[in-house]
């Protein structure tokens, strides 16, 4: 049993970690629903993890001028405030619209140029030490 216990604990820890990323992903997908109704296509892949308060994670993406994007963020932690903001390769903010409701947050980007952009996720506040998050994006 002694040998099995660490395996069980590790499995439980992994399951729980995956579970909160899954939950956060459900919220991110929920955040994208209004845009699906507006003919946006949501990418099937997603990005996520967990962050401490004030910690940030950036996702670098190639965006195309002529398309319009919504970056949709979700968290599994009730009461947490997370933001996503998109910057161009020079670090200039390019969000043109922001929406936030509870655990969902979304920003609209109309790229002024084709090129590399950075979606930066920040945990502004959270009742927990680590906060699970997931990000998806939609385009049309």
């Amino acid at each position: 049993m002694k040998k099995i216990l660490p395996v069980i604990l590790l499995t439980l820890a992994l399951t729980s970690a995956l579970a909160y990323v899954d939950d956060a992903l459900s919220f991110a997908q929920e955040a994208s629903l209004p845009y699906v109704k507006k003919e946006f296509s949501v990418r099937e892949d997603a990005w996520g993890g967990d962050l401490a308060v004030k910690e940030q994670q950036a996702m670098q993406a190639q965006l195309f001028k002529g398309n319009e994007y919504w970056f949709c963020l979700g968290t599994d932690v009730k009461g947490a405030v997370l933001t996503v903001n998109v910057y161009d390769s020079k670090g200039k903010l390019v969000n043109v619209e922001t929406r936030r409701t509870g655990r969902l947050s979304a920003v609209r980007v109309v790229p002024p140029k084709t090129g590399s952009y950075f979606a930066i996720v920040t945990v502004v506040k959270s009742p927990q030490e680590r906060t699970g998050w997931a990000l998806v994006y939609a385009y049309k």
Binding site: D45, Q62, V124
Partner: protein, 270 residues
Amino acid sequence: MPNILKPVVVAILFAAASGLNAESIPDAVDLSSFPAKAIDDVVVPVPSEVFLVLDKLGNPNWRGEMRESLGRQTGNRAQTALLLGTVIAEGFVAVEAEDPEKVKDIGRRVLSLSKAINVEKAVLERSKSIIDKADLKDWKAVRKEFDGALQDVKGAMIELGDGDLAQLVSVGGWIRGTEVLTSIVRKSYTTDGAELLHQPALVSFFSKKLESMSNRRLADNDLVIRIRKMLTSIRPLIGDEDGAPIPAENVKKIHQLTRDIVVSITSQES
């Protein structure tokens, strides 16, 4: 105000300001000071993001862009992965050309190539769905299925511990997509059209991935070596981070470079 209350008021105001500050959005950030570990790899755009912009640029002759042959498959895994990428990209061209027979042919070919590299299961449903939706001429849905097929194939390869092979699928798709894009842009050049090629981070990302392959057999494959050289040649042609206009001459050069590689991938003349 009694003196005793002043520090309390100051503290409350400070706390409120900090709270606001924490939620306010900075107009600019210094990306160079951002810790490298906190920046994920470049997200490779799905092909439909590029094709969507091309749709908006005009009405190209998509049938003229289709390749007659989808290419020969050899037993070489690197070639098969690259070919799979080009075939999926071809699917988007066939969708744009609204050619249901070609789309169905491509759907079946995606399945057979996936089988050759042991990821058939991941793409079986997609392949069926591509064929069904092509019959219905539901082009938007077919596009979505091709995007999904690409993700599923790559996901299955990564799950099998074959991340290097997954990158080759992406690279193959990007090369064929870029060949088509440059073909269209050079035929009626506009700076807006050429700007779609401004992908320096993506080219650097692919170069980095191909240079750091852990699988030596894949890394030393002739096609992979040629693609690494091609990416090095393309890098100065697609402009810097500032996004200076890409001249017609560069579009032509990129087209030639990508076309040569597509010919090599599809005919396995490396």
